[in-house]
């Protein structure tokens, strides 16, 4: 139904497109489809009791300042002066200027545009399906610049290993540094396990292993973009015998007294048991929304497509509450930021828009909420053709239940000197991950009384629900 929305772009076409001003052409059909889809979706909506959260993790630390860019003349001039050759020229942003549905006054009267490669996200924002959370990041307690600089760490604790990729990835996913074994998505899964006929299908990663989807009881189930991977030689070995296949099954699944060996056997048993169930259910799903992709060209869309198919199979699989994890790599743009960020953000734009349209097709647009996360934001200052590790960042929340078309939180000044940054424009977060997560968790169905078991530091923050969904 929405092939034109998600037409895949080759890199060359993308760069060409970015240099042209006709960029909105790609997204215009999305706007029309959204208008008609809302009626269709209302009719198609099943009314079944289903909710899913989808975490889109941008590994490497997304450059927030070239994702959400000041467009008003005064702030754009500041941005351009600080970023130098990293900055978008103002005229390139004309077609992706965001139009809040109700006028909002932001810090310094800023008006924002999205990166020019995100025309579809602009349509989602303008149509109220996408909200933007400003300057959110890792915090233990609210923090002013003076408190950040205070030597009294007992009174003003900092998240461990700020600016370090692996630790801040872990903090976003599990609110602790590397080595944490329980993610907040997994904790949501713990609370939802009993809702699902197949408890293993509560927390699912379509990317690699991610602590986000590991709970105290909820296990991460990992699935490939093509679906569950069968043990082919267990089913049939064309050059051997059924007895060898049978021995193989026995070997790989047999318990062992060695913890590592036994864990491999557990994994194999889980993999085999779920493969038939999952692929059987996926086979019955019809999903017409075109992700229209050259396989491998947009890995994020490949992952979101299997998530959409699993959601399509929710009744067959008895799924009522699910948490998904997908990701895209290589956002650590220390150099060559312009072309590399263009390529990745165009993939994010295509993939999230296609996924949203798939949820419309499946009649669950209001039951699926997608949000972005990333290691950290980056410096506003340039290091010639890239940016460095930062802290707070801006993030997107997309879905039919989202109170979109507006900003949440506090816009930072466009500055490397103000007290909302800690140097070189590294943003001191004004909203905590815990608050962002609590808002999503609340929508997912976690009662306020349970929130502290999911997000141990939520009590340190006055506002628990940011209101974006």
């Amino acid at each position: 139904m929405s092939g034109i929305v998600t037409r895949s772009l080759t890199r060359r076409a993308l760069l060409q497109r970015a240099s042209q001003l006709g960029v909105m052409g790609a997204a215009a059909p999305l706007a029309m489809e959204l208008a008609s889809a809302s009626e269709a979706a209302a009719q198609a909506a099943s009314g079944d009791d289903y909710r899913a959260l989808v975490c889109v993790f941008l590994y490497g630390g997304n450059d927030h300042a070239n994702t959400l860019v000041p467009y008003d003349r005064r702030n754009h001039a500041r941005y351009a002066a600080i970023r130098g050759n990293l900055a978008f020229r103002r005229e390139l942003l004309r077609d992706t200027v965001l139009e809040p549905r109700v006028p909002q006054t932001l810090t310094d009267d800023q008006r924002f545009a999205l990166a020019p490669y995100c025309p579809r996200l602009k349509v989602l924002f303008d149509s109220g399906k996408m909200a933007i959370q400003l300057n959110v990041g890792s915090l233990i307690t609210p923090l002013t610049l003076a408190e950040y600089n205070s030597p009294d760490r007992a009174k003003y604790p900092l998240p461990p290993k700020l600016f370090s990729h692996n630790d801040q990835q872990s903090f976003w996913q599990a609110l602790g540094s590397e080595g944490s074994t329980i993610g907040w998505g997994g904790r949501l899964g713990d609370l939802a396990l009993s809702s699902n006929a197949q408890s293993l299908l509560t927390c699912i990663s379509a990317s690699g292993n991610a602590v986000f989807v590991s709970g105290r009881e909820a296990l991460q189930y990992q699935i490939a973009p093509s679906g569950a991977i069968p043990f082919r030689p267990v089913k049939r070995l064309p050059w051997s015998t059924p007895a060898v296949s049978a021995a193989l099954e026995q070997l790989v699944t047999r318990p062992s007294g060695h913890l590592f060996e036994n864990e491999l056997a557990r994994l194999a048993r889980r993999s085999m048991a779920m493969e038939g169930v999952v692929n059987g259910a996926l086979d019955k799903v019809s999903l017409e929304t075109s992700f229209d992709l050259v396989p491998g060209e947009n890995p994020l869309a490949d992952q979101l497509r299997i998530v959409a198919r699993l959601i399509g199979a929710r009744r067959e699989l008895g799924s009522k509450r699910q948490v998904f994890f997908v990701s895209l790599d290589e956002f650590d743009h220390h150099n060559d930021l312009a072309p590399k960020h263009a390529k990745l953000m165009a993939q994010v734009d295509e993939a999230i828009a296609a996924f949203y349209m798939a949820t419309v097709e499946l009649g669950v647009a209001s039951q699926v909420t997608t949000f972005t996360a990333s290691d950290f934001g980056r410096t506003l200052a340039s290091n010639s053709d890239g940016s460095d590790h930062g802290w707070g960042s801006h993030h997107f929340v997309v879905g039919g239940a989202v109170r979109g078309g507006r900003y949440y939180g506090t816009a930072p000044h466009m500055s490397v000197e103000t007290d909302d940054q800690v140097g070189q424009g590294r943003l001191l977060p004004s909203t905590a991950i815990d608050q962002y997560a609590a808002t999503l968790a609340s929508w997912f169905g976690v009662p306020d009384s349970e929130m502290a078991t999911v997000l141990p530091n939520i009590g340190n923050f006055a506002t628990r629900n940011l209101g974006f969904v």
Partner: protein, 529 residues
């Protein structure tokens, strides 16, 4: 000393060899038993280099300037590294370099521009050439290598510019501390973190140290001094020759920061020339007491076990600190200490000993044991990172500078986690990869992967003798770590193929591949103890 001993059995010999390198052939086992651990290691350390990656690329014709633009194609880099791991004769050096490539990480993924395979070959050569050298030399060559320069942005890194607000790139300054030398937390000599009175670990550096150190790594770029440019009809710019892929980056003093540098207690005065500043900074990092335990712990994990005792780490760190002749950073001493430690040679803990064998090691070990050949000589093995479709790991294709897996990875909700253990390689293990691996083997070990096909030459003679076949595979692939129960299961299944001495080669190949598949999927093999 343990290192003066010789293994008491073929089993012990194979166990040692499968850590020190990829495979344990009958000749290796005989050599090791004859020479003893120390003598055998001395022989490996003195062994001549095989073909370097660049030499191999040249010989395979991948250095030709052709109209199809193959000077931009990365995949010959994959062929190059697989050839190194599977076929070059300096096997222990290759194994050690592979371990180093997971500590000093460069990935082919983002390497672009002219001649990515040669960039990768230049990088691999730094690791292989210094694998038995000194850590300090290696650290400097790592720092100045152009592939690392491209990967972590030292290449083209410019000094600060107050007028525009431009700052030096901090990537390399951060990762050389976090990953390549000292790590995040102050360590005791046994690798355990030092803790303050409240029980908190002490962080080794702050953001300000990163910002300051970043100045040292400004002003570097490719060395184009030996490069010749060839004009071609199909491009409006010339094609450079490949020397810049191998030559260390050069310093342009005009682009190097003249600001003073204060990091980790070292003061480098303003205006110090770039090469002197680099030497001072690297010396300072190299001298940090964390390096021995930080590096040593990870090398133990790569070669021997995920969970070494603190005492084992301390012994390896001591060898790093002093090779017995007063030299710090002697990697020969580190490998010797890792491989011949009493804890490494002792019987393993039956519940937690050893490590999950990495997918690359499984494939390379199998290939060197049963014999593979590339009919075309091109070793056309591509990126095998896709876990659903292939091996799920590919050498020099780490998804990030944090390697394929982290040294502190704990698989959630497992008995391993409950026991307080780590299991780095489990970061690659999931429902997809465990099945995808068996699917990859189904073809790779039978028909072959692309043009890389098994010969099974040495095994054809006993393909019909199933008990002998299983005994042989157990020794050579698994150091006799398959239980008798597992062996009986494999024997019974393979015997069912009914192969006799008179069977044709295809039937024998089916039996050999069946046995290899069963061994290589058995958890008792997958966990290398």
């Amino acid at each position: 000393m343990a290192s003066d001993r010789a293994p008491a059995s073929d089993t012990e010999a194979a166990r040692f060899l499968l850590r020190a390198k990829f495979s344990a052939t009958s000749a290796d086992i005989a050599d090791l038993r004859r020479l003893g651990y120390r003598g055998w290691l001395a022989q490996q350390f003195a062994a001549p280099r095989g073909q370097t990656g660049a030499e191999w690329l040249d010989a395979a014709g991948y250095g030709a300037i052709t109209e199809d633009g193959r000077y931009f194609w990365p995949q010959f880099g994959d062929h190059m590294i697989w050839n190194q791991l599977l076929a070059q004769p300096d096997e222990m050096r290759q194994r050690a370099a592979f371990a180093l490539s997971q500590f000093f990480v460069v990935s082919l993924n983002p390497i672009d521009g002219f001649w990515p395979p040669y960039m990768l070959a230049g990088w691999w050569d730094v690791l292989a050439r210094n694998a038995f050298g000194n850590f300090r030399t290696l650290l400097e060559e790592v720092t100045l290598n152009p592939a690392m320069g491209m990967y972590l942005n030292t290449l083209g890194n410019l000094k600060e510019d107050p007028a525009s607000g431009r700052q030096p790139d901090e990537n390399y300054a951060r990762e050389i501390m976090q990953l390549f030398t000292i790590g995040l937390y102050a360590l005791n000599p046994d690798g355990t973190p030092k803790r303050d009175a409240a029980g908190n670990p002490n962080e080794t550096y702050r953001q300000e140290d990163v910002t300051q150190l970043a100045r040292v790594f400004t002003g570097y770029d490719r060395d184009m001094s030996r490069v010749e440019r060839t004009d071609v009809a199909w491009l409006d710019y010339p094609v450079p020759s490949r020397e810049f892929c191998r030559d260390p980056m050069v310093l342009d003093p005009a682009k190097h920061s003249a600001l003073p540098v204060d990091f980790l207690g070292l003061h480098i005065p303003a205006g110090t020339d770039g090469r002197t500043a680099l030497a001072l900074a690297l010396d300072h990092l190299f001298a940090h007491p964390n390096v021995g335990p930080f590096f040593g712990h990870q090398m133990i994990q790569r070669l021997v076990t995920s969970n070494p005792s603190p005492a084992y780490v301390a012994r390896v760190a001591a060898a790093f600190d002093d090779n017995g002749k007063g030299v710090r950073g002697d990697l020969k001493a580190v490998w010797t200490a890792v491989l011949t430690d009493p804890e490494a040679l002792a019987p393993w803990d039956p519940r937690t000993g050893g490590k999950l064998r990495e997918p690359v090691l499984r494939y390379a070990g199998w290939a060197r044991t049963v014999g593979v050949e590339s009919e075309t000589g091109k070793w056309e093995i591509y990126d095998l990172s896709n876990a659903g479709l292939s091996l799920g790991q590919s050498p020099l294709r780490s998804p990030s500078v944090f390697n394929f897996f982290r040294p502190g990875y704990v698989p959630p909700q497992t008995a391993i986690a409950e026991a307080g253990m780590v299991a780095p390689e489990f970061q690659l293990a999931n429902e997809t990869s465990i099945a995808g691996y068996t699917n990859f083997l189904q073809w790779a070990i039978h028909t072959g992967y692309a043009d890389v096909k098994p010969t099974y030459a040495a095994m054809m003679d006993f393909a019909h003798d199933t008990p002998e076949l299983v005994r042989w595979l157990n020794l050579h692939l698994a150091a006799d770590q398959l239980s008798s129960e597992t062996c009986a299961l494999i024997e019974s299944a393979v015997a069912g193929l009914g192969v006799t001495a008179e069977s044709d080669e295809e039937a024998k190949r089916n039996a050999l591949a069946s046995a290899c598949l069963l061994v290589m999927c058995a958890p008792e093999y997958l966990v290398q103890k």
